[in-house]
Amino acid sequence: MKDMLWSELRRFHRLALLIAGMHLLILSFLYRMSDLLQMNYLDCMPFLGAYLLVGLALAIAQVGSYRHPSRWLWLVHRPLSTDRIFLALAGSAMMLLLIVVVLPIAVVVAGVDLFTERVVDTRHYLLLLHVFGITLLAWLAGAHAVVSRYKAAVAVLAAPLLLGLHLISVWWLLLPMLLTIAWLGWVSMKSFRANRGAPIQGSITLLLTALPLQLGFFLLVFELGQFLFVTGSILAGTDPLNTEFPPRNGLTELERAEPREVLRLGLEHSTDRRAPVWRDELLLLEPVRIGANLQRFPLRHQLSNLNVQTQWLDGQRNVLWTFSHDRMQFLGRHLQTGAAQGIWGAGGVGDDRPFAEVPVVGENGLLMTRHTLYVIDDETQTQHRLIELPQGESFIGMPRWALDRLLVLSNQRLRVYRSDRLAASAFSPPLLDWSVDLPAGPDNFKGFALAELMDGWLLSAAYGDGFRQIGLTQFNEIKMPSQKLIFVDGSGRATTVGERLIFRDYPVLYQSDWWFSPPLHWLVGWPEGTLDKGLAWPLQQRVLAGAPLLYPVAALLLLLSFASAWWWLRQTGASLTRRYLWLISCGLLGVPALLSLICLEPRQTYRND
């Protein structure tokens, strides 16, 4: 086994060293262009994709070279168990991936840590482990796919990524990562057998192989279906996002409209007697919009930064303050000299008290955590608490100054504050002017458009479709998009003055994947609901979709899958127990289970001897 491991290492060592060198050069170059360690997760995605491809490519080159029957025979025909042969290949692949992927990153991280004053936390070092885990998962999926009967078996990669790739604490992430590596490792190890075309032996191994494949098919087939639908719509010229004028009274029209237009559209359907006056008044006003754009808050030791600012520049002193997750304080660095400029704790410069949560840096010197909003005083280099939300409330949008007010959106209401003109300090807490409840909670909420009228405020609250923007999960509560027009009078009393349903523009089957396989839909959302991801409004797991329209479609697909599975199994040599397992699986999980059956259960007759 050791011989084989070294043999495989020798096979790729030159190429591995070459790629590692190139990788290091690229990282060093990019380090000069930007602060690699403070990149947000969206900027990290190309790197992640590249590392996944490296893992897959190595599996295809290494294990794929043994796919030919005579080479496969040479590989497995030796006095070693196939498990040990697999472990030898996996061991060499791990060492190669360490050289190619992990070592250059480690050099850059350690170099930044040792030779600069930039912030390097424990999470950056642990990131190395996770990057290694991700590339190893790709290798395992690739190795499994190339020795399987169908290349589509690479879909098993979807499940481990779904479980093991989350923007949570790098410490907590170790658990799902190790579990998924063990899971996929087992599946790949058991796919190494002399007769690769034979069905998988053992019910446990079959279940462990089938489930990730089913999850993969669930996600990939639905995504492919959506892609084909959108492509077809674009070709036909009917895609709402691809037309110069979106469909009338549709969601796209509302989302594209300027705030004034949003209010005007709402007023068109208002029966309030003041509506014509407001419509005229609107022409003279500059309405603004505030949206539910803060879907999650940063967590301590998070795998990668969110798409929010966690550093700010003190332009006067030329100091960049970057948040350190280890110290829970900002660390200053002079941009010209690169010298350390001290710490910024919970009370400002030099205060050693750590922040309780990782703060988000907003516009105009605002600093916020889940419940508290601060403002930074550049002169005194301190921070002042502006707003503390009540228990149970948290921000779901970045507060902004507009219309001479501070607009704050929480998961329960829109709060509008005005400056306390009598206060001695310019950084004293503002006074609550008025507030309005979110008409139907934060789920599917798009945002408010508001304008200050002569006699009060006019607001439009918009709700969208069932899309959820986090990860691969979607809401299963499909609602018709709607718009509600609210008038807030001078005393802060809110009344509804108009309401309308909006066309959703896309068919409901396009908006939710629940109907494709209800149990797998639940399973895909399970990590989202279970792991602490700092979500502004956590996903509520529901077994049944909120749209009864989807029920018959889901039932029909389950029935079709069951019937197709029965037909397929007739021409296989599967045992009775195995047939029952498949039939139950297809009857419960639907089309993805049927596809996994086709992949895993050869149709020709075989003997189980």
Binding site: M4, S70, W74, P79, L80
Partner: protein, 236 residues
Amino acid sequence: MQLSHHDRARVGFVNEEHSLPAWLRVEEIVAMQRRLYPKWDDARYRSIVSHFNVLPEQRIEQLSRGERAGVNLAMAIAQGPELLILDEPTLGLDVVAKRAFLEAVLFSMDDRWCTLLYCSHQMEEIERLADNVIVLERGELKLMASPEALCERVILWVAEFPFVPPPIDDLPGVLQVQRIDGLFHYLVLDQGESFAERLVARGARRHYCGSVSLDRAVSAMLSSHHASPDNAGTRP
């Protein structure tokens, strides 16, 4: 049935492609095999590989196909197998390499208690090597016998029919019929002198019989189920 890794240690295997890791040197791959097989016989390896012009420090990718075949064979035999399977090992080898390979096989198998399963379509190789010939067709065992016995069982009968030849169903054991220069050549399995009487009874003016080579005997057995031009409507 799946072989355990203990079983696999008892079986040597050489295939037609002589798949060996191209990136390794001969000495490295030999060292690998030596550590892997407890019954490894270094002297035997050296004696077999000496039939080929192979240097230990050469990389596998630098070897010719014949040299690779030699290394492969030497390693398979040196591991001390109880069963050695050679699957079309000389396919694609030039005449010299093929000869060297067969000599190495003959030389190495002389004094060993080892069953050799030699799969080949090259009948001259089989004739040189085989104690027993197994004819498989479509996964079915058609025949097992020594080459001499097989040749004795298949007889060539040549007959001249002045008028219409007899229907093939009237002649038992016919594997193949060919009409050459007006004479009917019957390759017949397991038929004695009584076949001559049948030929005479069916109107043969004259007839005689002869022996066939192993190549022709096996070919007749296999071609009895294969498509071929229907000579004079006499195909069995």
